[in-house]
């Protein structure tokens, strides 16, 4: 039960990151186009952010790791993604007037909008590995399974968003749904930790 919740959080986090990345392309296109540079900038920022997130998540797992704290990471990732829904257009409009080169502009825009939430989302996986691993012998197996779930979640998030969600919903509606789902899953994780600890 406890482990199931860890996998759910990691899988959802993977899904969340890729959905935002894909929609990020949508958000940037009106201002910087959809040239190969723009996608290059977005992917660069997401990879950079995830790499930093892995490092930070691993470090933070050294100090009293708990499912509650993992839930907080998920919640903070959602909260720091709020500006993507609330202020992306205003920010990108402001930026595109000042930085006219689409390469630099899309890189800066992606950094401002996506760096922080993606760093935080990147913390989820190593942190969850810490909670899953009980002994050294099974550590690789557990980590492998977690990578599977989180990357599978990414694949699912990419497919769902690009093939179906954009056909029925507005970008911001999808983003709100993603943020809401993060909040719900974080709440479930908190509740399950409360129930598990006193017993």
């Amino acid at each position: 039960m406890h482990n199931g919740m860890l996998y759910l959080v990691a899988g959802w986090s993977g899904c969340f990151v890729m959905a935002i990345e894909l929609l990020g392309g949508r958000l940037l296109a009106p201002f910087f186009g959809s040239s190969i540079y723009v996608w290059g900038a977005i992917i660069t920022v997401f990879m950079l952010a995830l790499s930093i997130g892995y490092l930070l998540g691993g470090r933070w797992s050294l100090r009293q790791p708990s499912l509650t704290r993992l839930a907080v990471i998920l919640l903070v990732a959602a909260l720091t993604a709020l500006p993507v829904v609330l202020g992306a257009d205003a920010l990108l409009d402001w930026l595109s007037v000042r930085v006219t080169d689409p390469r630099l502009g899309s890189l800066l825009g992606s950094l401002l909008l996506f760096l922080v939430p993606t760093v935080v989302a990147g913390m989820v996986s190593p942190y969850a590995v810490r909670l899953l691993v009980e002994d050294r012998q099974r550590s690789g197996e557990r980590a492998g399974r977690l990578y599977f779930v989180s990357t599978f979640g990414s694949a699912l998030g990419t497919l769902l968003t690009s093939f179906y969600l954009v056909l029925h919903f507005e970008v911001n509606q999808i983003l709100w749904a993603m943020l809401g789902t993060s909040a719900v899953i974080a709440a479930l994780a908190l509740a399950s930790d409360r129930r598990a600890v006193p017993a």
């Binding site: 949508r26 009106p30 201002f31 910087f32 186009g33 959809s34 954009v166 056909l167 919903f169 507005e170």
Partner: protein, 293 residues
């Protein structure tokens, strides 16, 4: 489903000739796609897929390079019938350069700006399709929407804007939204004209129609295998005036194999789409998904 779409797309662009009849003249991989030049019985075509299986982007008859090969390009030229001779013209989407070449000759006094995202396409148009920009022509290698926003900030304006940046394989979705069309409209001089090469089938037809209506109001619809939307910044000129202008353009356009009277006869304001279709916006723009349905 997908296969049917591709077949329909090939049909729309004029059935692609059999692959074995084509001889490959040039091939290069660009940042975005494969850029291919094929020849077949005196016709040279630009394609983005092997054997032109998803249709041809642009073609010239080598013996008569002035001739506008595709019917849709002839319909685009009919935008000239909407009002006075344009002084400043913008073409978004170069392809083989058919339209810019024709416009340079038909309206030699006009300043012409041409935008294409793919530097390889610009190179190939010069080398294989005889697109040699004249002294009043400037070519920009840039995303169409980014160009439009820059042009707005610089206070530029145009009397005629031709939108030709889509093909059947892929539509840049940010170039088919209400917000984009509003930006294009703001680039127009009062009475300025937009002509757009778009689609004549699939669910996208409905969405595209209501999106143009939302921005420009009533428009002229010209249909054949493709569909061309012609709108004006301000109310549409009466059909009688369009026909009168067509008559005065007729001799000049004959060089390009454009039958002005035939084109003028196609102008229609009939609503033949589902008016309750969803308007495409920056928030909702699944143009490629709709195009497949």
């Amino acid at each position: 489903m997908r296969r049917g779409t591709l077949a329909a797309a090939a049909l729309l662009l004029g059935a692609a000739p059999l692959a074995e009849a084509l001889s490959l003249v040039h091939s290069e991989r660009s940042l975005y796609r494969q850029v291919l030049v094929y020849e077949d019985q005196g016709t040279r075509c630009l394609c983005f897929t092997r054997g032109c299986v998803i249709g041809r982007q642009s073609c010239v008859t080598l013996a008569a390079p002035e001739k506008l090969y595709f019917e849709y390009t002839q319909m685009m030229m009919a935008a000239l019938f909407m009002g006075p001779r344009p002084q400043r013209i913008l073409v978004i989407g170069l392809g083989g350069g058919s339209l810019p070449r024709a416009l340079e000759k038909a309206v030699p006094e006009a300043a012409l700006d041409v935008v294409d995202i793919d530097p390889a396409v610009v190179r190939v148009a010069r080398q294989y399709f005889n697109f040699v920009p004249g002294p009043r022509t400037r070519v920009y290698e840039e995303d169409g929407r980014v160009f439009v926003r820059h042009a707005l900030r610089e206070g530029r304006s145009y009397d005629l804007i031709l939108l030709d940046a889509y093909d059947h394989e892929y539509i840049p979705e940010h170039l088919l939204t209400r917000e984009y069309l509003f930006e294009v409209k703001r680039l127009l001089t009062p009475g300025g004209v937009v002509a757009a090469n778009t689609f004549s089938s699939s669910r996208l037809y409905d969405s595209e129609s209501v999106t143009y209506r939302a921005v420009f109001g009533e428009f002229y619809n010209l249909k054949s295998a493709n569909r061309v939307i012609i709108v004006r910044n301000g109310s549409l000129p009466a059909l009688a005036l369009v026909r009168q202008n067509a008559a005065s353009w007729a001799p000049a356009l004959r060089n390009f194999a454009v039958d002005a009277a035939d084109m003028a006869a196609r102008f229609s304001t009939a609503v033949d789409w589902n008016e309750r279709a969803r308007v495409l916006t920056d928030q909702y723009s699944p143009a490629n998904l709709l195009n497949g349905r």
